[in-house]
């Protein structure tokens, strides 16, 4: 039995060039990767901000968190090749039965380590975000501060591409942004284009658009209200920005003031 265990064949070996994206945060990949040569960088993404979490080298493994979480969750972080790298890719199915047979005490400890790592990763991301906000222009917007100068709401009619948070980056739903402020926006969609996805209060979407001044703007938004208009066949959503990078915040601020 021990011999069988030791002989799990590697599924594949792949080569990545420096800078290649190996895992994208939010995707639903299940593979586990072992580094044969090279180095990879693990980072968490919020907006276009990257928070470095770890650099791994030869012999180290990544992508294991999804496996240990029983594949229930999307990838918690992104991974890029920091050098030209060769990776061994394991299918988690091969490991599942072994994991189930692992001595209970070891499973117990592994589960704990995993939970602590998830907590620490969050902490690192939080501290980094806070430092960036303290040291530079706030990435989050000032509308809530009553003493701050208020930015106006602008009526616009902008094509935008969006997708639910956690969905494949290849997914592109289309809608029209009808008005825009520093804190959020109103989005009109034709639900027939988006029937397969929930558009309810609390849902989160990644959203991309080109502002009238030609600048690209990307944000993560949360639906505050959703109203159907059966006569027009449209769905009108009030959305709040839940995550805007510092650069995008600046771009938007610049547009709103001009």
């Amino acid at each position: 039995m021990m011999n069988d265990k030791a002989k799990i064949p590697p599924i594949a070996r792949l080569k990545y060039k420096k800078g290649d994206l190996i895992i994208k945060q939010g995707d639903y990949g299940i593979s586990i990767y072992k580094i044969i040569s090279g180095k990879v960088r693990i980072f968490s993404e919020s907006g276009d901000r990257e928070v470095p979490l770890a650099t791994l080298g030869r012999g180290e493994i990544f992508g294991e968190m999804t496996f240990l979480n029983r594949g229930a969750e999307a990838r918690a972080a992104s991974v890029k090749a920091a050098q030209d790298s060769e990776l061994e890719i394991w299918h988690p199915g091969r490991l599942s039965s072994e994991y189930a047979q692992m001595p209970h005490a070891i499973q117990y400890i592994v589960t704990q380590v995993l939970e602590r790592l998830v907590r620490m990763n969050k902490l690192v991301a939080q501290i980094t975000a806070k430092k960036q906000e303290d040291s530079k222009m706030p990435a989050k917007l000032e509308e809530s501060g009553a003493s701050q100068r208020r930015y106006y709401r602008k009526k616009v009619n902008l094509e935008c591409v969006y997708r639910p948070v956690g969905s494949s980056p290849k997914l592109a739903l289309h809608g029209k942004v009808k008005d825009l402020s520093m804190g959020g926006l109103a989005l009109e969609v034709r639900p027939k284009n988006a029937l397969n996805f929930s558009h309810d209060k609390g849902d989160k979407f990644h959203l991309n658009m080109i502002l009238p001044n030609g600048k690209k703007f990307t944000a993560t938004t949360e639906v505050l209200s959703a109203k159907n208009d059966p006569t027009l066949g449209t769905l009108f959503m009030g959305m709040e920005f839940s995550d805007v990078s510092e650069g995008d915040g600046r771009t938007l601020g610049f547009f709103m003031r001009t």
Partner: protein
Amino acid sequence: MAVDQLLYVYVLNEEDYPANSVIVKEGSKGDWMYVILEGKVKVKKNTPKGMVTIGTLNEGDIIGEMALFDPVVADRTRTASAIADGGPVKMGVLDTNRLLKDFESISPQLKGLTRTLVKRLSDTTQRAVNLAMK
């Protein structure tokens, strides 16, 4: 008893610590693993600006997991301090040799996976401490 029975069978000895006493000191030698049987434990790390608390552990939580998954290091030193938090704490000393044997019985893939996980926890904790101090 909040501690998992299947883990409790690994407990060799029980030790009592009064409130605020040091259970494990960062930098000291030792590779015993412990499980918290009763009470709460604060985990702290030394920094140039003094001690920083990096977490609070509760009943059932393990201390010293680095020892198990990085057995290559002889004379391992503790990477953090553990301090009885607020009240007395009962610790279970785990049969580390038996845990190591259990660990050796698992496949190389799972071993590698676990080792990476433990190392990443240690690296990430250090990174969080460094960031907080900057």
